[in-house]
Symmetry: C2
Subunit: 388 residues, 2 copies
């Protein structure tokens, strides 16, 4: 186990009906809030009315930034920063999924910063302060509700980059599983893939002597595997939705399940190039890429892939070589993604081979990707080709 | 899963050599600190010198309260409160195990409170504020380094009671596994029992649909079972000490592993009466009591005990009744405690049957104990008798 620091200051308020607490929680952060949300589904479901009534009842003046994109854009984040500055807003409330929360984090970090917020994403500057933000989660997937990470896309430059800061952890996040009842089957599947791959990035590691962390990862994976099909089959299965929501949050809450473990994150870098150019759902891109990354790298530490196959997929190891067991686990992962309706090839999402080299070059612009196996441009392009 | 709130604001700094950061961390909380420690082993090991040098180097004036008892006493906590008030001290640094950290929490809560700190423990008053505190952990056991709970003994009244507050979470805790190299075999065993029973209190529950929480509990149990014998056999096995330290912290860090799960805690109540009168180590008392509690209650939800036996102890269920499987898991627990050197009977720690009724009456003074099975005075006395 490596040395580490861990701090997660987000307060989680979980369960049916907890959205009724949003006004009281928000009121602790002043009397002006920027309400950030997505394409308007929260208006159809009535959540928008509930939240704005709560805020009004607690004496909070509400400003709005709707229309956050599924891959939230830098231009939108800048717009939010301008609204906050122009109106002296001191608190941001994100109501939506990971994209909406990520946009809110970008805005929160940008407001008190003198330069352009994009500096944080291209690693030109370090975030020293941010406005407080809260969230009401409507999609189980990214874990953004309990971490300090955000991913923003600069559409002009086709760059999709992440920024992590202790200052952009939400002060509170309201997690009501019933708010995900209306999430369609495909988005439920992509969200499940997203949380599983977050665990993979922390689980496939060379760090020695981390038995607890490995088991925590396996616990989340097995629980997602059990519950995602149930939530897809019966969208109003409270237990399945609640279990998925908790899995998504724990899968990426500042590294609680992988303290002291070197993480990988190559596959996320590889996927970000796909959605930066083609604007496909992040979880769909991960579903395509991840099993191919696994096939490309599993020999680097085959024991970990054997453990994965046996413990997570219940592969019977009797009479099989390590190679066979590992490959069976990878195939089980692919089969599961397919079974819940997530894509397996770039062709399925309409992506051909014409820009693979360009994406591979961009993916390694800050250096080789990953830790489990360091991937250079050529490696990344090979993984794209395996994904055609 | 029940609705829940979760917030854990403690910063963990983990790994060999991290004690070098204590001065910098403490300096954020002013220039006067009360250093709280136990029987003086930190002077023998050199830790005292390291810490005080660090504090001095960071311009912090140090006041001292040594000699904290293994079951920390109310009189000692009151003494600490007086020292803080008399000297305008604004920060408390606990260097030791759970008892020392618990005493520090009592002091932290008591200083800004107008009444007597014991009010919090007898539930006469609610803690509204506390001095900031930090810890340097020297024993893996209680989890006090990452939660808001403290247990204090009122020796005059033979009462050992717990107090939980969000205000008494340490601001930071430094967890260096090498500081536990000098912990003797018996204390290592008691600490391991303590963390396992913390998990048991959260795992044996009637709450439905909590597959992730159950697996997180099982993950810790399996990791303790693997690592405690290694740490006892080879006290300087870094990996074993680090794994135990992380298990102890995660086992009771504000309920992270059991969010939305009704906890039990009857056995802790039963044990507290033992150590309140006989001053035995808490972990030793738990080792005696817990398997007897299990035998007394397992029929309340036998499936959970079957799952425990199969998943934690790898009991082969083939051809066995649920009853047989459950009992095999309970016996495996007892055998493990015995194998690492923890006691199985009250007789082993010199306790007879003369005060069982008195202890049972005190154990239920605030009402019946537990959630898995509500225990009245008669039940508690029966469990004591099973433990003779």
């Amino acid at each position: 186990m490596n040395n580490f620091e861990f701090l997660n200051p987000t307060k989680i308020i979980f369960g049916e009906g907890t959205v009724e607490q949003v006004g009281k929680e928000a009121a602790a952060f002043g009397d002006k809030a920027l309400l950030v949300y997505g394409g308007g589904s929260i208006k159809k479901t009535g959540l928008y009315d509930k939240v704005t009534r709560q805020l009004a009842d607690n004496g909070i003046e509400v400003f709005e930034l709707g229309g956050i994109e599924p891959n939230p854009r830098l231009a939108t984040v800048r717009k939010g920063i301008d609204i906050c500055r122009a109106n002296g807003i001191g608190f941001i409330l994100a109501v939506g999924g990971g994209s909406v929360i990520d946009a809110a984090k970008g805005i929160a970090a940008g407001v008190p910063y003198e330069g352009d917020v994009w500096d944080f994403y291209v690693r030109k500057a370090t975030c020293k302060a941010a406005l407080p933000l809260g969230s009401v989660l409507t999609l189980s997937a990214t874990g953004s509700e309990m971490n300090g990470g955000s991913v923003v896309t600069n559409w002009e430059e086709n760059l999709k980059l992440a920024h992590l800061s202790i200052h952009t952890y939400p002060k509170f996040s309201i997690l009501d599983p019933t708010l995900t009842y209306t999430v369609p089957a495909d988005q439920t599947a992509y969200g499940s893939v997203d949380m599983m791959t977050h665990v993979f990035e922390q689980y496939f590691s060379h760090t020695a002597d981390t038995p607890l962390q490995e088991r925590l990862c396996e616990s989340i994976l097995k629980t997602v595997i059990e519950n995602a099909p149930k939530a897809i089959a019966n969208p109003e299965d409270y237990a399945a939705r609640a279990n998925l929501m908790l899995c998504g949050t724990y899968a990426l809450n500042g590294g609680m399940i992988s303290v002291g473990v070197a993480n990988d994150w190559a596959s996320h870098g590889i996927e970000h190039e796909l959605s930066a150019i083609y604007d496909i759902p992040h979880g769909a891109g991960l579903s395509i890429v991840y099993p191919n990354w696994m096939k490309y790298v599993y020999k680097e530490r085959i024991e970990r892939f054997v453990q994965f196959a046996v413990r997570v997929w219940d592969v019977d190891p009797a009479g099989k070589s390590d190679e066979e067991i590992a490959l069976e686990g990878i195939q089980a992962t692919r089969d599961f993604f397919t079974r819940i309706g997530a894509p397996a090839t770039l062709a399925e999402v309409g992506i051909g081979d014409d820009r693979l080299a360009e994406m591979a070059a961009k993916a390694v612009q800050f250096g080789p990707l990953g830790h489990f196996k360091r991937l250079n441009q050529e490696d990344v392009e090979r993984i794209y080709r395996l994904s055609l």
